[in-house]
Amino acid sequence: MSASAALAGAFTLHLLGGFAVSDVVPALPPAPLLTGEVQVGYGLSDAFELRARYATHVGLHHRLGLDLRAAFGTGAWTVGARLEPSVRVGGTPEDVAGDVSTQAALLLGWRDGPTAVTAEAGVTVQWLLWDPAGVDDEPYFAFIDAAAQVEHALPSGTVLLGRLELAVPRAPDDPFAVLGVHPRVLVGAAWRL
């Protein structure tokens, strides 16, 4: 369900939760932050899938996106691509911050029976940033993204998921990065609705 698109006309539900490691409290070692996401996918055709995605970090920052996926291939190997424009908002009512971004990535998948592995590489461009200090509408090449996902389909049809994401900020002074990256580990499951 990652490198491969959903079946045409089929809805899928993905629920994932885990931790994003961040240097959020400088006086402490990097802390694991609760993170999670919900994806609802719809198979536009056998090769294209559209997913609506909501992701959160500690319930305070929220990202809503539309993830268009394409996947091609036969047999064990699949190649694909995804494009996700999204909006992030969070903070407090007096301290609202957010961005408008697009993530684009290439996917390479390999499947052996019920188990599949997908590697993903891409970039994120921020088109608009806002915080209490103002709005920055200068497009910025913000992150180089890498991810790996392992899936295992159970006989019941439920698909178990494990995913590791590494976002490398291009800004050299990103205060929240840990060893120069934003790591995120998720586990979860997917179901056909």
């Binding site: 409290v25 802390a31 959160t56 319930g59 903070g91 407090t92 009512p93």
Partner: protein, 186 residues
């Protein structure tokens, strides 16, 4: 976002923990759970006693990184098949007055006595509990909560979302807590 709001948010969750529907009459259920509360590790344990007439009573202790402790007494009554209502009374305290510049002793979170009416619904392996917390010490309507508990067989998984209501600590969203635990029937 600076560290202080995160830490204050973490303490917010250190209020009474949402309970579950009462166990059968005469049965004692002991549970222990651990996980993450926003930024900090959390552990807790409780004992619930089933009483005649669909009533139940329990006590529990929860701590958040060992710095905040909450002691809770709870009462539940089954009102229909799969439904229960109840009330928790809790007392929370900090073992430190300050952490990274945040004056915990003056924090409105987990500070003093609280009362929390709840409604619980169980359907199959899933239990939903909704409640709201009113602080009696320095009175204020503190928060509302929604918790989902899933019975995974050997363990249970509970996810809680807490929405702060007071103006000083309101956020655009909710504060999550996730724990994994086990219940033992005695």
């Amino acid at each position: 976002m600076t560290a202080a709001p995160f830490i204050l948010c973490a303490w917010w969750c250190a209020s009474a923990v949402l309970g579950a529907a009462p166990p059968p009459p005469g049965r004692v259920a002991v549970d222990a759970a651990g996980g993450m509360n926003v930024l900090v590790p959390t552990v807790g344990a409780g004992v619930n006693l089933g009483l005649p007439g669909g009533h139940g009573a329990g006590v529990r202790w929860d701590t958040h990184a060992g710095l905040a402790h909450v002691f809770t007494a709870s009462a539940r009554v089954r009102v229909a098949e799969g439904w229960a209502v109840g009330v928790d009374g809790a007392f929370g305290l900090f073992v430190s007055e300050e952490l990274f510049g945040v004056e915990l002793a003056r924090s409105p979170f987990a500070h003093g006595f609280m009362i929390e009416p709840v409604v619980a619904h169980t359907r199959g392996r899933v239990a939903l509990v909704a409640g709201t917390t009113v602080r009696l010490t320095n009175p204020g309507w503190q928060s509302i909560k929604l918790a989902v508990t899933v019975d995974l067989g050997p363990v249970f998984l509970r996810a809680q979302a807490l929405v702060p209501l007071e103006e000083d600590t309101r956020v655009l969203g909710y504060l999550p807590m996730v724990v994994v635990g086990k219940t033992f029937g005695l």
